[in-house]
Symmetry: C2
Subunit: 756 residues, 2 copies
């Protein structure tokens, strides 16, 4: 029957196992590392190589389109690129490539390597003969992100340093097992921080019990000791016991996992709450490709001659720096087929500046993506704890510092959530009610950077044709036909960050109170700070591959002047302004004018003749509260505004440049790129949304902070004509069927090519 599901399961693979956007496999990472190492000129050079990052080179967009059209299910021929109106039929895809950031521990040089990966199968063993170096270059005057191995080495070196042991002894600490040394990047405050040295300035903490691995050591900061570590040579280059600040008293409330000695929950009447999906989830996953909520309509119920489907589809990616990446976001929209929304969504940077000008707090401006890596520091998630329901997990693979491969199992979580009512209306005349529940598909990961935890969530919204019901005072009048189910649409994409973990605290002198933060326990003080996040959204609203047909308009609601057309003075209206170029598109939020931005296709209209679009709806937001000349804002100039829009350029990925660590170049990245002032009137646009919150610590944030939420929404705005389910003229519904027929038979059929 034509109502059959398109499964794609038995289709030929055309000789490729990895989609061009699949993250590097463990084997590929191994090959890439081996290839680069083998390319080292001398044994010394090979020994000195440290592997900061090995990541897939995402191919250009047309290659992705060809892969999706022709090489990988569900085979979407509408994506084939066209030349002079005719589809280009590729013979094969280019080989996958890896990009490596290599730090030479001997020369203090950072280099970037591109390695081509020959066809690698799961059975491939190690060999460098499977990779080929395409290019390598030294990047001058940068420091790459720090690695966990360096943190551990730094801790050991500091703890072994006799003057440090002496200083700790002065503070009453003999047992070095109690001491925690958290290396922090130094930022760039003066020439002394120049990347000619690889520096870290550790924060020192001290636990109280040596046999308690779960003790919260962050509760006893050790103040007054200045340590500067050369991380290249792993030696202390500066040390001074500057000021004697006694260790704060051991806070009896410091632990989030108290032992039995302190009493635990003995009994509670908190009853279990389970989320059950007896038939499994509604999503389908093939490799890293996700489809969600196929709904099939048979328009003529008896004949069942035409079948349509609507659903979200996207690919899950992952990088050491960004963590989760969402590729190729599209809505399959019944007769209209696949409609692109975005090419790539991710969080590319975050910055956490602290408000205390004193040592050591003024140096705390962590760039957790660019200095450490959100993906590298991701957690292995557990069902029932991190996520409920029917879960699909994805693993992630990384290189470690010395080039070994490490895997985080269950690193990305994909699951569905019920989100309460989606819509409801009850007619007051009849008492008849209709209600639909909202469900969302959530993709997420959680990472730890030192003391703090960040969860990053992308939520895709759609309705389910839910349990219909009628609230009817006079049931007799309802003909049965009104009880049929019906799909309603939301179509939102929500980005959410959850902040939790342990506050970064300082010690106070007895009796001291500091205006820059909150005293959260006797002698313990948590400075005020801000958390900023940058979402990079390579949009492609209603664009086919190769099309650069988007623009961004800003909407502000304006008060109408009084006058004869406004005698009751009630009038206001939304005013649109096209952001014509990059410098015009540097914008801030303004809740008082309901300001938001719409990414529009310049050539596609909805049924009212308006351009189709997706709007970016800010959530609550702020701007940096540091002075405009703050040192860290040289590296983080992108924080100065909430929205930036650029013309897509493949090498413009990180808003503070690729290497923010000790970066001496003011305004590198976004703030420089937009000076080109490229046109945005009809372009391939990238949105950069910068959002943050100001965190004034509370006692209740201690010893562990209840989750704070922050985010924004991408919302269809004239993208759909209304709900897509009824928007179905019966004579134009064939494209999806065509695809189904075709791919089920042969790779690509002449009949189909002729139609393209």
């Amino acid at each position: 029957s034509n109502c059959a599901t398109l499964t794609g399961a038995s289709l030929p693979w055309r000789g490729r196992t990895s989609h061009p956007l699949d993250p590097l496999s463990a084997t590929e990472i191994k090959v890439a590392v081996a290839t680069v190492r083998a390319a080292g000129a001398t044994p010394e050079e090979r020994d000195s190589m440290r592997f900061i990052e090995v990541v897939l080179v995402e191919p250009e967009k047309l290659v992705i389109a060809m892969a999706d059209a022709y090489f990988f299910p569900p085979f979407q021929p509408s994506l084939l690129p066209r030349v002079k109106g005719r589809p280009v039929i590729p013979s094969k895809l280019p080989p996958r490539q890896a990009r490596l950031i290599v730090y030479n521990k001997k020369s203090n040089e950072t280099s970037i390597w591109i390695v081509e990966l020959l066809e690698i199968h799961a059975t491939t063993r190690g060999g460098h003969h499977k990779g080929k170096v395409i290019s390598s270059k030294v990047v001058p005057d940068v420091q790459p992100p720090m690695d966990a191995v360096e943190y551990a080495e730094c801790e050991a070196v500091v703890k072994d340093y006799p003057p440090f042991r002496e200083a700790m002894k002065k503070r009453g600490i003999d047992d070095m097992d109690l001491v925690m040394v958290d290396a922090w990047c130094v930022g760039y405050h003066s020439e002394a921080d120049s990347p000619s040295r690889r520096l870290a300035k550790p924060l020192i903490f001290c636990r109280t019990e040596s046999d308690c691995p779960m003790e919260n050591g962050y509760a006893r900061p050790v103040e007054g000791i200045h340590v500067l570590v050369d991380m290249q040579n792993m030696v202390l280059v500066e040390f001074e016991d500057k000021k004697f600040v006694p260790l704060p008293p051991a806070d009896p409330l410091r632990n989030y996992t108290p032992g039995e000695t302190r009493g635990g929950v003995d009994r509670s009447d908190v009853k279990p709450l389970h989320i059950l999906q007896p038939e499994g989830p509604s999503f389908r996953v093939k490799g890293h490709f996700v489809e969600w909520q196929k709904v099939f309509y048979c328009l003529f119920k008896l004949l069942c001659s035409i079948t349509l489907q609507v659903h979200w589809s996207f690919r899950v990616g992952f990088t050491p720096r960004e963590g989760l990446v969402i590729h190729s976001v599209a809505y399959v929209d019944g007769s209209r087929g696949r409609r692109s929304v975005a090419q790539r969504l991710s969080f590319v940077e975050m910055v956490v500046p602290y408000g205390d000008p004193n040592e050591p707090h003024y140096r705390k401006n962590a760039f957790d993506a660019g200095e450490d890596g959100l993906g590298k520091n991701a957690h292995s998630l557990k069902k029932g704890c991190d996520c409920l329901g029917s879960i699909k997990y994805f693993d992630s693979h990384f290189t470690n510092f010395t080039g070994g491969v490490e895997t985080i199992e269950n690193c990305v979580c994909l699951h569905e959530e019920d989100r309460g009512i989606l819509w409801k209306h009850q007619d007051w005349r009849t008492g008849l009610a209709e209600v639909r529940r909202s469900r969302r598909l959530t993709v997420s990961f959680i990472c730890t950077v030192a003391n703090y935890e960040y969860g990053f969530y992308w939520h895709f919204y759609q309705a389910i044709p839910s349990f219909d019901y009628l609230v009817n005072k006079n049931a007799a009048i309802i003909p049965q036909k009104w009880k049929c189910s019906y799909l309603a649409l939301d179509g939102k994409i929500e980005a959410e960050v959850k902040l939790t973990g342990i506050l970064s605290v300082g010690a106070l002198l007895p009796g001291e109170v500091r205006k820059y933060g909150t005293t959260i326990a006797p002698g313990l003080y948590a400075p005020v700070h801000q958390h900023f996040f940058v979402a990079r959204m390579d949009m492609a609203v209603d664009c086919k591959p190769g099309e650069a047909l988007n623009q961004v308009v800003e909407l502000n609601v304006k008060v109408q002047e009084p006058g004869k057309d406004n005698v009751h003075n009630n009038a206001f209206y939304a005013e649109e302004k096209l952001l014509r170029s990059e410098l015009q598109a540097v914008r801030d939020c303004n809740p008082l004018t309901a300001r938001h931005w719409i990414v529009r296709n310049t050539r596609t209209v909805n049924r009212t003749g308006q351009l189709t679009g997706y709007k970016l709806m800010p959530g609550s937001n702020c701007l940096p509260l540091a002075g405009p000349e703050a040192k860290f804002l040289r590296r983080a100039a992108f924080l100065k505004h909430n929205l930036w829009v650029t013309q897509y350029a493949p090498n413009e990925m990180f808003p503070g440049g690729e290497f923010p660590n000790q970066n001496p170049r003011a305004g590198e990245g976004l703030a420089s790129w937009v000076k080109q002032n490229r046109s945005l009137e009809e372009a391939d646009v990238v949105l950069w949304y910068v959002f943050g919150l100001t965190h004034i610590p509370r006692l209740e944030d201690w010893p562990v902070m209840p989750v704070e939420h922050l985010g924004f929404t991408l919302m269809p705005h004239g993208f759909f004509n209304c709900s897509p389910a009824v928007d179905v003229p019966p004579n134009t519904h064939e494209s999806d069927m065509k695809e189904t027929n075709v791919v089920g038979a042969k790779p690509i059929q002449n009949a189909m090519i002729a139609k393209l």
Copy 2:
């Protein structure tokens, strides 16, 4: 054993069946109405009485405290009022009273009656001999809210009016069954709208199919016909067919419940998602009293000598105007016993002003609470549709226009929801992770006012001692004792409004485009508008009955000037300002300074010596976009600012005054009360938080709008010392135990009184 649960089930009732805050029962409403009707001087007067509202008179706070302390479980003796340090032992509670708003349809007079209700049992039948009129007074120059009966009568009268039928005929409509006449209050734009007449200006709509009760008739607005109805005498007082605007074409996408003729969902792979609570919910309900998540701690596990509990408690109330009311919100905090947070929380008004200055839109400024009633228009909720999980529903009772009693079954929903992770920390040294899930208790109702739906939700947050787990690379090093469970706290109260339903649209002339809204379908236009809500929060942070010990501080984060104490220019800090009096406390949101407000107890400190408090964290918000001299802002002056704080006064309930309908008195209510400029330095404070959103309609909001969310949070700020679970000095834990012992025995024991 001392670990036994306090059930209270077998305790004596002391002769009262209704708590002083229980909403009026159906029987009580019947008695109140009968009593007032019997008091009418003449048969004509009795016949003319229409019953707008019959509502419980909430007694003064000390009566409530006595009831909670002595007459109703869980018997909280700490609430007994004290005179000269000694508790006052009441002999009985005063009788309950009802307050009636009566409209005399003959004289156009509005009167307010207070009726004392003698002890009424469920078996009581009708009789007025059970009630006693305490007072009655005519309120001059007001119009009470409209009633659904009046709307229905108005529709009939207009449809019967020959010139109206003529006008509809001109527009091609003969069948009056298709026509919908939605009466709207007129507001107050000039002396012509004076309350000396009871007026309504209907909006006209026209369905297309007479046998389709679920057709969305709001999709065909009928424009150009001016109708003004005298609702007292139910006659048209003005009629004019002003301008011929053709009916917009029947929008094929207008229906949210399409029939089979248009095709429905035939099959989908959207799988069911169930929320199962096999052991039932964690809350307990006794009458209208709710306790949630008792957790008992036995501090010394072997001896089990001391038991503590922590949980939320509150009472559910309901009024015709506000809908859900939350009374007596307290946190039972282990050894510290019952700690009050708020006396009463509710939504007291909402206003929806439209931005189009043209007829009929400029009149659309609905006060959905004060002109109609949020509670009166509430829905009967359905499990599985409106709410999932283990539900406790509450019914609500009202008088109808003619004095009969009507019941909305399942009107208020109480249930628990999983809310993802509450907190997490993974130690980077050990790889050990701890995570807790968040659960919230949600109380809510949903109402329809004409085309729009509003859901009002109060969410109480707490953690559950969840499935612990250890992510451990080296399991051997974890001693078993670290696996003990542990409670963490959130303690937030979140207020949320969900907006859904059907847009209020107008018709366009062919080819017309209007700048005041969005063309959402051919010939159909949805004007831009705003939705404002007013939450009234009678706070009582850490106050015992009779104590007026709260104050409100505003926090703003300030940028520190550059200088020698701020050489890196990074410094910022939170600055507190006490809002000393009512005029000082008229404030607006400011996300750029992270502005928020803390309600503090002036005498209670936490372990750092700071005053305990709860903070009001705004969500996204806005201000009216109408001109400052807009006519509707005379009645809605309270919209001009986001926060107001008043000294509690029992008669200050509704921010636009009790009767906003046709109210000619500019600035009545909040804007007038604060002119008294009462001191707030140490007071019983009431917060009025005004929040709204600007709604620029999208095509995707049609034919039914996916839920928009809006709200704010009350968050503990130094209220707890951290998580309360570990804050337990073993020698001061006796108060709860004492209460348990006492109430189990006799009403109140001498030994206990001596202790009080």
